[in-house]
């Protein structure tokens, strides 16, 4: 009889622990929807307007495709026409004063430089995107290489002292 009671108490104790842990985990694993039930529908936030100030933004790492600092609504990028290239292609940059597409856009995958933009780099918005002034859904802890090196150097100097 005592044994039974003991077993019961242990089982209840484990179950209680499991429930607390799982609820704690559930609280941590909150989806981007927030704490809204699966059966409820939440109103979508309004679409933010695109940044349109023509100011170049810093790249976070050298290979990053630069972001587009202007609106591109209704810009056609099709087999027939590419509106972006009507300013950013080599032959039109003198008139438009827009930055030219870089040399990598002329290279095919063997590294052979072509006369004009290579088909694999033709669809600009695959890599380049417009920006909107909104709060990110998830905090981003990205640090660029300079701040990493700076932090390391600072730590090394402290160690030396």
């Amino acid at each position: 009889m005592r044994q039974h009671v003991k077993r019961f108490v242990v089982t209840v104790g484990i179950a209680a622990c499991c429930i607390t842990v799982s609820t704690a985990l559930a609280a941590e694993l909150m989806s981007l929807r927030g704490s809204v039930g699966i059966e409820e529908e939440i109103a979508a936030p309004p679409i933010a307007p695109d940044v349109n100030d023509d100011q170049r933004r810093m790249r976070n790492y050298p290979e990053q495709p630069p972001v587009i600092p202007h609106q591109i609504r209704d810009y056609q990028i099709t087999l027939n026409a590419n509106k972006c290239l009507s300013c950013h292609s080599r032959q039109f940059t003198a008139q438009s004063q827009a930055p030219m597409i870089s040399i990598t856009h002329f290279m095919d995958r063997e590294g052979q430089v072509l006369a004009s933009v290579t088909p694999r780099r033709y669809f600009c918005t695959q890599c380049h995107v417009t920006q909107a002034d909104i709060e990110p859904l998830i905090d981003n802890e990205f640090q660029d290489i300079d701040s990493l090196i700076g932090a390391e150097r600072g730590a090394a100097e402290e160690g030396a002292q």
Binding site: N52, D54, H70, Q76, N80, A81, F92, A94
Partner: protein
């Protein structure tokens, strides 16, 4: 020649004899007032028919227009936008001025021919003709200084401070001195573009001045250079 004239006269003579004689059965009042009323009815009916053929519903009644260009229009800012002002087919493709409108309507008889013989009756045929059709519209808008654009977008009402710096600069450099017109730069704003190989964007200077600094100048710089030139002479 004289024989031909005589032959025509033989046909026309009985009608002329009726027309040139005073009326026997109808009073002068009936003829004048009746003629006036009939004129109003005819004119009203004519204009009603003209307006009926000048609607988006009429234009997209043909599958050629509905399946191709109308579908493309629906994705653009001229169809759906924040203020809800919509441009319909005739707003851009038919002149609003009466005489120009009639001239365009007469030209459109060729399109009836095209409809009957199925010139663009399939998607493939339409795509084959797209460059040619687009070039017609570009030429027409270039020739009338983008009149149909300007029916809504007037230069006078354009607030450059509400545009981006880039747009304001280009408008000041090309639009205000009337060096270029709307369609030179704003092609394909309501429909998909044809193959644009070899068709340069409107803001490109002619090849002979393309490399010179002056090709980037605005009207003010041009004027200053002219005055400096005149002073040294």
């Amino acid at each position: 020649m004289r024989r031909l004239v005589r032959k025509i006269w033989r046909w026309v003579e009985p009608f002329w004899l009726i027309l040139s004689r005073p009326s026997i059965h109808f009073s002068l009042g009936f003829l004048t007032i009746g003629g006036f009323v009939a004129g109003i009815l005819f004119w009203g009916a004519f204009n009603t028919a003209l307006e009926l053929t000048n609607t988006e519903k009429f234009c997209t009644g043909c599958h050629e227009m509905h399946a191709n260009v109308y579908q493309e229009l629906q994705r653009t800012i001229h169809f759906s936008n924040r203020s809800g002002v919509r441009a319909t087919c005739p707003d851009c493709h038919v002149p609003h001025n009466w005489t120009d409108k009639i001239a365009r309507k007469m030209q459109a008889s060729k399109e009836v021919w095209g409809k009957i013989f199925g010139t663009i009756s399939t998607r493939e045929k339409f795509l084959d003709h797209r460059l040619e059709l687009a070039k017609h519209e570009w030429a027409r808008l270039k020739a009338n200084d983008s009149l149909e654009c300007r029916n809504c977008h007037s230069t006078v009402a354009m607030d450059f401070t509400r545009q981006t710096q880039r747009a304001a600069d280009i408008h000041a450099r090309y639009l205000i001195p009337k060096e270029r017109t709307c369609i030179d730069c704003h092609k394909g704003i309501a429909h998909e573009l044809p193959d644009m190989t070899g068709i340069e964007p409107g803001w490109v200077a002619p090849p002979e001045v393309r490399d010179q600094r002056s090709s980037l100048d605005g009207a003010r710089d041009t004027l200053q250079r002219f005055l400096a030139d005149a002073a040294t002479r």
